[in-house]
C-alpha cells in the first residue's frame, strides 16, 4: 500500500469531504495561501477557493463562535486551532455553546463542527505551545474527542468527524506530521468508539493514545525481547471510549498501563484506569498504572523537556516491574 505522511492524510481527508459535501468549509488562521504554519492544508485553497478555506484574524474565540453559528444553521465548519494550547481561548464557545446546544434545545438544534488542533511536546516550543489538552474537552458532555495515532487514523477519523452531526475535537500530534504510514487509495472511514488492537499480547496491556502509541509499540518490542508479551491498544477516540475492547484485553492479560501525553493528574489516564479498575477489578493481578506527562508546565530547555513525557524505556521499565509484581506500594 502507498505510504503518505500524516500531513497529507489530513489534507486528503479534507479535500475528499469538501468535494463530497459543499457545506464543509475550513476556518482558521493562515489556512489559505500559507496552508497553516505546518503546511498541512497546502493546496486546498487552490481547489476550493477563499470562500471555503477562510483565513481569519487572530480571534480564536470569535471564529470558533462563528463556526458554532454556521453549524447551527446548516454548514459543516472545520475549525483550525493552530496549537492545542489555544483551546483555552475557545473553551466558552466550545464547551458552553457547541457542546450543550443540542441538549439545551431538547434535540432541536445540531452543531456539526470539527475542531482540528494538535498536541505534543518535545518540539522545544515551551509551555504555551506544547500542551496536550484532550482531558479537558473529554470531560465536557456533548463533545466527541478523537486522537489519531498515525496517518491512517488521521484520515479515517477526520472524515468520520466531518460527517458526525456533533461537535468533535480532533488532536493531531504535531511531531508526527511528516511521519508516513500506509494509507489506502480507496475511501475509508474509521468509526468512532472502536479501539484498534495494534499488537496482540498475553502478559500486559498497554493502552496508549496518539503520540504514545508509537512509544507503546517500541516498549512492546523491547519487552518481547525480555520475554514479556505486551498487547498494545489504541482507543482512537476517548469519547466515545471503546470500553469493551479495553476490558476484554485486560481481563486476558491481567495487567495494564495507560499512556497519554496529557498531564497525568486529573488526565485521560485516570479515567481509563478507573474504568478498568471498576469493571475488571477481579481480573487484575496488579494495579493499573498510568503514565502521563509530568505535572509541570512544559519547559523549554531540551534537557528538561525530554524528561516530562513517557518514553519507550520508561514504559518498558514500568511494565517489567508490573509483571514482576514489584508495584506493591508501601504505606
Amino acid at each position: 500500500m502507498r505510504e503518505i505522511t500524516l500531513s497529507q492524510a489530513v489534507n486528503e481527508a479534507l479535500a475528499e469531504e469538501m468535494r463530497r459535501d459543499p457545506s464543509v468549509f475550513i476556518l482558521g488562521e493562515d489556512v489559505a495561501e500559507a496552508g497553516t504554519p505546518f503546511k498541512v492544508l497546502s493546496g486546498l485553497v487552490q481547489e476550493f477557493g477563499k470562500d471555503r478555506v477562510i483565513d481569519t484574524p487572530i480571534s480564536e474565540p470569535g471564529f470558533m463562535g462563528l463556526a458554532v453559528g454556521a453549524a447551527m444553521t446548516g454548514a459543516r465548519p472545520v475549525v483550525d486551532i493552530m496549537f492545542g494550547d489555544f483551546l483555552f481561548l475557545i473553551m466558552d464557545q466550545l464547551c458552553n455553546q457547541a457542546a450543550k446546544t443540542h441538549y439545551m434545545s431538547g434535540g432541536k438544534l445540531n452543531v456539526p463542527l470539527v475542531v482540528r488542533t494538535n498536541l505534543g511536546a518535545t518540539r522545544r516550543s515551551a509551555a504555551q505551545h506544547s500542551q496536550s489538552l484532550q482531558a479537558l474537552v473529554a470531560h465536557i458532555p456533548g463533545l466527541k474527542v478523537a486522537l489519531p495515532s498515525s496517518a491512517y487514523e488521521a484520515k479515517g477519523l477526520l472524515k468520520t468527524a466531518i460527517r458526525d452531526n456533533n461537535p468533535v475535537v480532533i488532536f493531531e500530534d504535531k511531531l508526527m506530521y511528516q511521519d508516513k504510514a500506509p494509507v489506502p487509495e480507496e475511501e475509508y472511514l474509521i468509526p468512532f468508539g472502536q479501539a484498534n488492537i495494534k499488537r496482540e499480547g498475553r502478559d500486559i496491556t498497554l493502552i496508549a493514545t496518539s503520540s504514545m502509541v508509537q512509544v507503546a509499540m517500541k516498549a512492546a518490542e523491547a519487552l518481547a525481547s525480555s520475554g514479556i508479551s505486551a498487547e498494545v491498544i489504541d482507543p482512537r477516540t476517548i469519547v466515545p471510549l471503546d470500553e469493551a475492547t479495553l476490558l476484554a484485553s485486560v481481563k486476558k492479560t491481567s495487567r495494564a498501563i495507560v499512556i497519554d501525553e496529557g498531564h497525568q493528574s486529573y488526565g485521560v489516564t485516570a479515567e481509563i484506569a478507573s474504568r478498568l479498575n471498576e469493571k475488571a477489578f477481579y481480573y487484575l493481578d496488579a494495579p493499573v498504572l498510568r503514565m502521563g506527562a509530568m505535572d509541570v508546565p512544559v519547559p523549554f530547555s531540551p534537557v528538561l523537556e525530554d524528561l516530562t513525557v513517557p518514553t519507550p524505556d520508561r514504559v518498558a521499565e514500568a511494565a517489567r516491574r508490573l509483571c514482576a509484581g514489584e508495584m506493591i506500594h508501601a504505606a
Partner: protein, 343 residues
Amino acid sequence: MTSMKATPEPQADRSNAERYLRMYRQMVRIRTFEEQANQLYLTARMPGLTHMYSGEEAVAVGICEALTDTDRITSTHRGHGHCVAKGAEFRSMFCELLGKAEGYCRGKGGSMHIADQSHGNLGANAIVGGSMGIATGSALRAKLFGQDDVTVCFFGDGATAQGLLYEVMNMAALWKLPVIYACENNGYSEYTKTAEIAAGSLTARAEAFGIEAFRVDGQDVLAVNELAERLVARARRGEGPFFIELETYRYHGHHVGDINRDYYRSKEEETLWKTERDPIIRMRAWLVEQGIAAEAEIEAMNAQIRKDAEDAVAYAEAAPYPDPSEVDMHVFTDVLHATRIGA
C-alpha cells in the same frame, strides 16, 4: 453614527394597518406573557429565576417585524420578548419555563435557553455575549451558501464589554456579512449603570471597525421598525453589517428576584419610563388617534391575549414533565441514551 429621531407623530400609512396592529399585538403578547411568568414566580410555581423583558417590547417587535421566518435571531438571558416577537407560541413557551416535555426544548433549556428553531430563533443564551459569534456565524453561512437571509444579534449594553463582540464585528466588517448587531441599551447591566462600565461611545466602537452604526429610541416601535426594515433590506443586498443602539428600559429588576433596587436606581426613574415612554401606551394612543383601531377593538384584543396566556399557563401547568429516561437523551445526535453501556 446616525441618530434616528422618531418624527413625533408620523402619519399612518393605511396600507400598513395590518402591520401596525400586529406590532401592537406582539408587544402586548410579550407584556402579557411576562405578567403570567412573574405570577408563576411569585407564587413559587416556576423553577428557578427569570429575567423580564417588559418595557423593551418595541425593540424586539420593531426589529422582528422586519424579518421573515428564514431570517435568524440570537437572543439573550432576557429572551422572552425576542422569542414571542419571532413568532413563538405561548403554550410551548410556558411549558419550557415550567420544565415540561412539550416545551420548545423539552424542558431542558428553561427560560435562559429557550429557542424556537421553526421561526429562526437560535436561542436565548445564559453567557452574556455568548451568542455574538453564533449570530455572525449564521450570517457567514448565509453568505457562503448564497442565501439571502439576515441574522439579528440581540445583546445588552453590558455585553458590549465582552471582547468577543469586537472580534466578530471585525470579521463581519471584513467579509461584509448580513448581520445586524442590536444593542439593547437599557442603562444597566445587573446592578450597575452603563456609564460605569462602558468608556467612550458604543456606536463609535462599531464605526471604528467600519460598520455603519445607528442610535434609535427603543421605546418607539415605529421608529425601530422603520430603521430595521431599511437595514434588513440593505443587509440582504450585501451592504451589511450594521450596528444599532436602542435606548430602552427594563421595568422589572435584573431578574424576578431583584426586588429592592433602590440602591442602584430610583423609583422616580422607573416611574418616568413607565408612564412617559411606555411603548405600548404610546402605540395604542397612536393607533386610536390615527383611526387604525378603536379603543374597544384594542380592549378586545388585549382581553383575548390575556385569555390566551391564561389558557397557556393552565395548559402548561397540567402538562407532563419529561420522562426520567430523557435525562441522557440529546447529548449526542446519534446516541439515544448517552450514559448507557456502550455509549
